[in-house]
Symmetry: C2
Subunit: 407 residues, 2 copies
């Protein structure tokens, strides 16, 4: 029999992070692992000895299917910054004592950039103290900003939501003849992958957004206004998608120019938001046109009622691949996707040393952004389109999607 | 052969207004009407002689099915205020000349309160000049605020979206252990029907919002804060649904207290918005807790990717019933729904004199709002639940819902 296993979820929720959890759970079960524990609220909860046995929470095959369709982190999440063990070894000693008490052999953490930093530190510490516990990262982020992997689970579903909602917003806007400016704000601090996915709305039946602004390109308000006026020469409505993380040439967040001193989260990241509303107010006044700001907010990362089936499947694979790799003795690694071809879409999974991934943010390549900095290229579309393909219908009960929760 | 027909769409879009259009189109076609015209952008477009022949735009049965799944107004909409004929008869003369030129016998207008006022005036004028053109209203509004009808097409789908999104937002919020306040702003100027539908999220697998504020109850900021602190005694997150139209005891919109002088639309209505963000900022500062405002904005009225099948069907019926009534000689009326029972859900359609409906806003009954003004009763749930039942899956092409548009 293989040993006991523990799995946690960390960072911002996605629509498919629970599919990765199911991948770990079923992978471990099928491999004959012992107990399969789930950390409540990631490492933060584990340090308080808050955990569950997944067999108690996921009781049957119907639960499995509902859990795949449940957005956000089933086990709860945290934004916990693990200190370096040279600065604070006490927390490591406490954690490894808990792992020992539970007789854990394999540790899995589903998360984004910051979570991969956690896995890296834990694997390093384990090596230092000669622990044989393996530590594996399972990628998850709607931001798609993890390096060394073609893409990350969670991105495809968020992109499908963004592109679908854009199509609906464009229909809603274009139904009026009034001159109008609509500015839609999409998540993405430093990487514009999700904002770029708004371009997928440009289809046979939809013009798509007219302008797209990513954090990769410095943002100038004056150019923004002139870009809009250019669009308005041949169209009554201007539809704009922009990232919450757009910054001016000095590197200052546009929302910061409004808010003054910004709050920081525990990782020291500035807390962004409402750039669209700020710009909508300003551009409305400056052009005299009707303007509206729409902020997708958390809706874009938890809209499991319109997930990408491919994303759900790949999220599951990422979890299952992590288990197989751990059982083969790998540690300090993350599961990555390698793409063989766009059309037909073919990928495979492998693992990669987490040291190359933690704390690196992969941004949209310059050559995928059009020269005037207001759109993305066909290369981006060819890359992103396959990730939003296929649907997984929610289980509807009394008119609403049913979810699985811990009692 | 029955005569020529014209149909228009007016006011804010919904997810099912095109299903009513299909109801009128197929009803008229099956009844052997002559040409079936569609006004581009409602009355405003018609006065500029902008119209289409629907047979040219809806080419086959597949188009019919796609159109039912297309949100917003296929024909385009307007917010046009028709003056009274005693004040400005020229516009009536122009309009009736256009109708005569097209040899129109039956005129259908799909819309809400303001659109029904238009139908009322047109029917009165027709009677005055002894025109035999019939004028029928087809109800449509996510606000559900039309009188004399049990409910309005468009409401059920918007309510399904609101309740589904609330469930997802609650999962997203509760996944953190952090103390937090989430304020979700829902459309509804004077009637809280749509905001109340957030209560439908309270199900076996979801606690639902903790507090719901409707425009029917005067809003006090101090009570709001103490309501939240009461919730926080037994829960780390407080989830609040509130209407964009909440007002203080003096009748002043809460968003107005922030914005100062508000802009008016063509009907003289104040343009609301962003109450949730304003309150979120304020309550965050006053309580020291993390707070987030989410504004559903236009997403709630155009999310045809998660419609209520019952709503789609009833919207179609409303259109078809209007045609049958017009052909039977009725004029100056609106189609209404009468409910026989909640469970099993049974309704029938009939018509009602539009004079009783135009310019009346039906609000949520006082007895359906809980005594402390922070929730709705079981009677409301029993009323609203049947309206969100059933799904109509979008036709997905390349990963996105396909829509029908006029070329």
């Amino acid at each position: 029999m293989n040993g006991n296993v523990i799995v946690g979820q960390s960072g911002g929720p996605t629509s498919v992070i629970n599919s990765s959890l199911v991948g770990v759970f079923q992978g471990a079960k099928r491999a004959g692992c012992g107990k399969i524990y789930g950390m409540r609220n990631g490492l933060e909860g584990l340090l308080q000895e808050r955990y569950v046995e997944l067999n108690d929470c996921i009781k049957n095959d119907l639960d499995i299917e509902i859990l795949k369709r449940t957005p956000s982190s089933f086990l709860g999440t945290c934004r916990y910054k693990l200190p370096h063990y040279e600065k604070d070894s006490a927390v490591y000693e406490k954690l490894f004592a808990i792992l020992k008490k539970l007789d854990i052999k394999h540790f899995f953490y589903i998360g984004g950039n910051d979570s991969m930093d956690t896995i890296k530190k834990l694997a390093e510490y384990a090596s230092k103290i000669n622990s044989d516990i393996t530590f594996m990262g399972v990628p998850k982020t709607i931001d798609n900003d993890l390096d060394k992997t073609d893409h990350t689970p969670g991105y495809g579903s968020a992109a499908k939501y963004v592109a679908s909602a854009m199509k609906e917003i464009i229909l809603d806007t274009d139904t009026y003849t009034t001159d109008s400016i609509t500015i839609v704000e999409i998540m993405g601090r430093n990487a514009g992958w999700l904002t770029a996915s708004a371009a997928l709305a440009r289809t046979e039946d939809c013009t798509g957004p007219d302008l797209i602004y990513l954090p990769e390109t410095p943002f100038s308000y004056d150019k923004f206004v002139s870009d809009i006026l250019e669009v308005k020469k041949h169209k009554s409505s201007a539809i704009i998608a922009l990232s919450e993380g757009i910054r001016n040439a000095d590197g200052q967040y546009i929302c910061e120019t409004q808010k003054g001193d910004m709050k920081l989260d525990v990782f020291g990241h500035k807390m962004l938001g409402e750039t669209a509303l700020f710009l909508s107010d300003m551009v409305g006044k400056d052009t005299g046109m009707k303007s509206r700001g729409i902020v997708f907010s958390t809706l874009q990362r938890c809209a499991s009622h319109i997930v990408s089936r491919r994303d759900i499947t790949e999220a599951y694979d990422a979890g299952a691949t992590a288990v197989a790799a751990a059982l083969a003795g790998e540690t300090g690694k993350m599961v990555i996707f390698k793409r063989i071809s766009n059309d037909p879409y073919k990928v495979f999974t492998e693992t990669h040393d987490i040291g190359d991934i933690a704390n690196v943010e992969k941004t949209v390549p310059k050559e995928w952004i059009t020269q005037n900095g207001t759109y993305v290229s066909q290369e981006f579309i060819d890359y992103a389109r396959p990730l939003i393909i296929g649907e997984l219908t929610p289980f509807m009960v009394d008119g609403l999607p049913r979810h699985l929760t811990i009692e």
